[in-house]
Structure formats: C-alpha cells, structure tokens
Symmetry: C2
Subunit: 206 residues, 2 copies
Amino acid sequence: MKAAVYLAHPRPGSFNHALADAVAAELGSRGVQVVTHDLYAEGFDPLLPADGTETVRAADRTESLRADDGPDDAWTARHRAELATLDALVFVHPNWWGMPPAVLTGWVQRVLAPGVAYKLDTADGEPVGLLRAGRALVLNTSDTPAEREEREFGDPLQRIWAACVLPYVGVTDVRRHVFRTVSDSTDGERTAWLGEARGLAAALVS
Amino acid sequence: MKAAVYLAHPRPGSFNHALADAVAAELGSRGVQVVTHDLYAEGFDPLLPADGTETVRAADRTESLRADDGPDDAWTARHRAELATLDALVFVHPNWWGMPPAVLTGWVQRVLAPGVAYKLDTADGEPVGLLRAGRALVLNTSDTPAEREEREFGDPLQRIWAACVLPYVGVTDVRRHVFRTVSDSTDGERTAWLGEARGLAAALVS
C-alpha cells in the first residue's frame, strides 16, 4: 500500500508539521510506503496558468478547468503521475477563513485536472472519478470552538473535502478530524492529539 | 463613494473578465471611484510567508494568521492601505471545487490580517471587523446546475463569503449571485448576464 501526506502550513515547527510527521511515522510503521509533500517547502506555485482554463467542451465558452497546463509544469506533472499510484491520501492543514491555505487550494485546482483525476463523459454531467485511492484522511487545526464553527461559519471545509473535491475524483471514504482549539492548547493536549492522529492514520490503512 | 473590484480568473477574455469590466463600468457611470484588481495580472503571490503565522496570543502556540507579514511585502501593504479607504467591495471569480481560485484564497489569507481587517480583543473571542466597507457583492460563475450544487456540494462558497470572511471583517451586507451554467451558455445569455451584473452593481451602491 502507498500513501501520500500533503502538508500545507508555512512555518516549520508548526503543529501541522508535527501532525504530518506523526501520521507519516505511523503509516511507515505499518508497512505503508509513504511520501510526504510539504507544499510550502516544495515551493509549489498554486496559480493555474491561463491555458489551464480553456474549455474541454466548447472553445472560449467555459470558465472551468482542464488538464492541459502546458509543458513547462514539471511539478504538476510529477504530482499527477504520483497521485495515480496512491492507495490513500492524507491532507494536513489549518482552517484559514473556512478554506485550506492557498497553496493547497492551488494543489487541488492544478493537480486534480480533468482526464487525470476525473472525466466528464456522461450525458447528465455526473463525473467519473479516476483516482486509484479510495480513502482519504483530512486533519485540520482550528482556533474556533466546534459549536461556534457549526453555528456561525457552517464548516465549509467539510463540504469542500467531503462533497466537492474527494468524491468527485473517486475517493469515497473520506474521514476528517479537527484539532481545536490550538492556540490555547497545552503540551499535554498536543501530545494527546498527536496520538489521536496516529490512531486515525492507522485506522485509515487497516 | 469608493469601491474595488477584485477579479480572479487567469485568462484574459474570460467571462469573469467581462463581468468585472461591466461592474466597473456601471459603478463608474454612477460616480463611484472604482479600482479594479485583476489579481492574476498583478502577479500576486498568494502564499503567506512563514512569519505571517506566528501567534498574536502565545508564542509558538497557534496555527492561525497575524498581521506581520514582514517588510518585504509591498503588494500586501498597498492592498491593505487601499482596503481601508473602500466603501464597497466586489469579488468576481469562478467556482473551482467549491473554493475561489487560489490567487483569491491567498488574497483573503494575506490581506485580511488581524489588526488590519479585524481585531480579536474580546473575552469570548468574537471578532470586531475593522473595514470601513459595509457592503459587498460576490459574482461567481459555475458549470454546475443550481439544484445539483445545493444537493450534492452544499455551495461552500456561500458560507465562505457570507459567514466566514466578510462578516468577520465588518462587511454585514453581503450579496452574491452565481451565473450558471457558463460552458453551454449562448451569446444572448451572456449578454443578459452582463446586464444583470450591472444591475446588481448599481443596487450595491444605491
């Protein structure tokens, strides 16, 4: 089994980094082949180039996305090729304004291209997911209490990952956990959370 | 009155560009001072640097955002200074996986910094919005029919803009309209949509 951990936090030493390390260690200890992508450290350019938005259906008629990012984008090509070999995906990132950090938003928008991650070839427009990976784990950090997140903000990250993105590309088993509230957490809480993250990673590949 | 139009689409000639142009023209014709920011054309770097995520409350304890992006970021400083002078905001972008394009995600995460766009100084953590602008219009394009968007995807962009982002910074009057489905639209539909966008812009500043 092969899995990737995608980490989106700019600061080395962040708790997100610790979560990603814990997950990668747990997966490795279980015989899973793990690749970790620290998207900030890799220097990923999250901006889809203009020729990545031309139509797949009718020239100059759509505002949506397509596979052809142009030949200059070796990074995106490598990520797409690797993605096709994965059995499980893990995303680790903070909740910033109800969205992932822009570097991960860009990863989704550039790497999960039509023809690579899904195809639209049915009459009713229902997509067919193309990824081999059937399962994913999303680990988030937040400084907002759960009750307030649900009442006031509606937790858009849940819909983004579990409805918009992952099922669309064929990942039907989507698990998510939010560690909160991070800013006032104690060392003991953080240690416990890292253990919890390891447990979730273990369950993902069991 | 002063307003800004923030456009996030990589391709010149896109329908998003036409929407932004129509809105800017309408506002200008009504005596509003308009600035338009084509975020792709400006070459904005959407990635928050590592020192932008240190804590405002307890050192090395949070994964969230803060104002201090460092002195090298003249672009962000200019956007923040201008934002403080605006009475109305308009955002024009496609729905990509339930999120704005990464360039606009990054604009939110970098420009709307604590101490600039909001402050957290109350005991219960409720933010106080600092923006002068009290109203905003969000115009989106989509290739997903409205019924399917609501049923299958849950329209996270509505929550992102109308719950997570704009009220948090003091913008209480949030209006949003989605033009759909763009990929199979006719010239006549697009012309009508541009007129509709002008009407929404006019209403925003009336």
